[in-house]
């Protein structure tokens, strides 16, 4: 098969990066939320290119399905008078961008400097491998994560409950 992977990668990268930038720069929250969803889909596509289908599907399920909706709810609940949304901090905004870029550059340099022993092409781990790892080697973290989720649920309910005057 002809080598479509490189142009495909660039398309997928674009699908990820452009909405990300839009998300951050959009004035209206709804638009930035939509951009985020697009970005998550992009990420799912990246997983696909990395032969991690299971991950891609779970990514779509969780991020696009659950978390984005959650954020949409949050946006709805905290409807603000649209007028005064000031996009950035006046003070820190101009500092944040260069800082982020500097961060990116340094990380890139560090990564480029580092040497990884890499096998030539992407390998193809099946779902069975994942499940083996997940349920015997990492069983304990798995249980732990469930605990974390439990705590998060209880916490979220408590925090967001409408305060009843006692």
């Amino acid at each position: 098969m002809t080598d479509y992977s490189t142009p495909l990668f660039y398309i997928v990268a674009a699908v990820v990066l452009i909405p990300a930038v839009l998300m951050v720069t959009f004035r209206n929250l709804i638009y930035s939320a939509a951009a985020m969803i697009l970005c998550f889909i992009g990420v799912a596509m990246v997983f696909v290119t990395l032969n991690a289908e299971l991950l891609a599907i779970s990514q779509v399920l969780i991020y696009v399905g659950a978390i984005s909706i959650l954020i949409m709810f949050a946006i709805m609940l905290t409807r603000q008078r649209s007028g005064e949304i000031r996009l950035f901090f006046h003070r820190q905004a101009w500092l944040a961008l260069p800082a982020a870029l500097a961060l990116a550059v340094t990380m890139a340099v560090v990564l480029s400097r580092a040497s990884f022993s890499t096998t030539p092409g992407p390998r193809n781990p099946g779902t069975s491998d994942l499940s083996n790892l997940l349920f015997d080697q990492y069983a304990f973290p798995f249980e732990l994560v469930s605990l974390v989720l439990l705590v998060a649920i209880v916490g979220a309910i408590l925090l967001a409950r409408r305060e009843r005057r006692r």
């Binding site: 820190q92 800082a99 961060l103 340094t106 990380m107 340099v109 560090v110």
Partner: protein, 629 residues
Amino acid sequence: MKAAVLLIPLLPLLSFAFTGLLGRRYLKERSHYVSVAAVGISWLLSMYVLVEVERGQTLSWQLYSWIAVGRFSVDIGFLVDQLTAVMLLVVSTVGFMVHVYSIGYMHGDKGYYRFFAYINLFMFSMFMLVLANNFLLLYVFWEAVGLCSYLLIAFWFPKRSAANAGMKAFLVNRVGDFGFSLGIMLIFITLGTLSYSGVFASASTLSGGMATAICLLLFTGAVGKSAQFPLHVWLPDAMEGPTPVSSLIHAATMVNAGVYMVARSNPLFAQSHTAMMVVAIIGTFTAIFAATIAMVQNDIKKVLAYSTISQLGYMFLALGVGAWTAAIFHLLAHGFFKGLLFLCSGSVIHALGGEQDMRKMGGLKRKTKITYWTFVIGALALSGFPGLSGFFSKDAVLTGAFAEGYWYFWIVALITVLLTAFYSFRLIFMTFHGEPRTDPKVFAHAHESPRVMTVPLILLAIPTVIGGLMLGIPPENGHIDRLLHHIFEAAIPAGEHVFGPLTLSLMIISALVGIAGILLAWHLYERCPWLPNAACKRAGRLYTLLLNKYYIDEIYAAVIINPLRGFCGWLWRFVDAGVIDGAVNGAGWLAMGAGRLLRPIQSGKVQGYLFSMFLGLLALMVAYLLFNI
């Protein structure tokens, strides 16, 4: 003899305690019985001791060891010899007379008991001073006497001037005592002992320079106590105290302590000729210096005060030139007639209801007969009228100075004789002769003082008249010379003095000069009273200079007191509060400041924190890149 010597100081001490404690509530106006009796008995005992000493019996008796620390051991002890006997004579007699006199003078005063308590304490300290057998004990009672003079000068303490005068007296004495204590320390360091016998025995081992240093330090004490030139400023102000005090302390006893100390340490002084010269120079200068001021003073007691300073100058002159016995003879005579003069001035002030300014007196001759005649006797003795005690003792001093070859001292002394005669009779003419210048009401009931005051005057007048004849004839080896010869033999310069034509001519010269002074005063103040004012106007600035006592007090204030006070103020504000406290509080403020500086970092903005975290991450990575940690 031993019992007598112990009792002499003990009785006044006991009566001090008795009157002091019980005086306020119980004794009140009866508090004089115990104290006068005590001093009277002491007087009798002193006479007994004098007679014993005349018969050649001396005593050196050590009561107990006072301080014993390592090499330094000092004990409380008595030394009674001819010199002590003479001093006891003066102190006890004048003291007893003043006690009797004070009954009348202090009558009705609110602090009656306090007066007698203090004056008894003074008698105790003076007796102990004279009886002490070592330098430290002398120093102890030297300051105790200074304390009593402080208490008695500031007796009427509600009066600000009296309180200031008291403090001034104590402080100036203290300056003198500073030198005295250093002298004592030097003696101990070089000779290892402080008792008279020990020190005088090893006096010859002293090197010239050390002897001079010691003598000069001791002499600073004498200058302070006997009000000689640099430290004389306190005596005129001491006249704030009641007159009996001025008579006893500031004329007859305490001020002589300086002369006694120098006389007592004659073996030391004999070792250093320079020290003797310093004593003589200061003595002569003070004599003429004080005499010039006395001429223009208008307060009756101030005149007598300056006259005392001047006569003390005479005594130090005599000590300086080596005429030791003459100095003591003059001390004795001066004690009597100056005490008498002060008591007479007291009775004059008493008669005029407290008036002390001579310009508001006059014509008291008729009113106060006894005071007048005793005053005249005293004045004649003071100005060296032939026949009276003053004549013989002053003449002894003059001939002593001339015979030793110090003719320049003799000339200055002769001028002072003239001035002395002048101011003493100026005083008499202004107070007793001429028309009364007091306002009629006061003058109307001016009366002679009660008998309890006039009897002591008469009793003191007797020795002034016959004292000279008894002790001074023939001059140079009269009774007093023979008595004190043994004491001063270590210090008497060689050469035999016989009563020859030289001494006779000197006597005549000084007598004539004295009489000339009297006539001058008579001419100015009796015959033409307008002359003095004219003379003063013409003299102008000189007169004001003398009137203000050469501005010595003002100079001291400007040179020492005010700069010292200013410096101390600066010292406290700048160094203490500024530097040290500044540093301490500064450290405190520093901690606070640093805290306040760092506070804004906790701005509470989440973004701020995130931002600094990122910067931290960035820095770490850059560090990794650059230094490849």
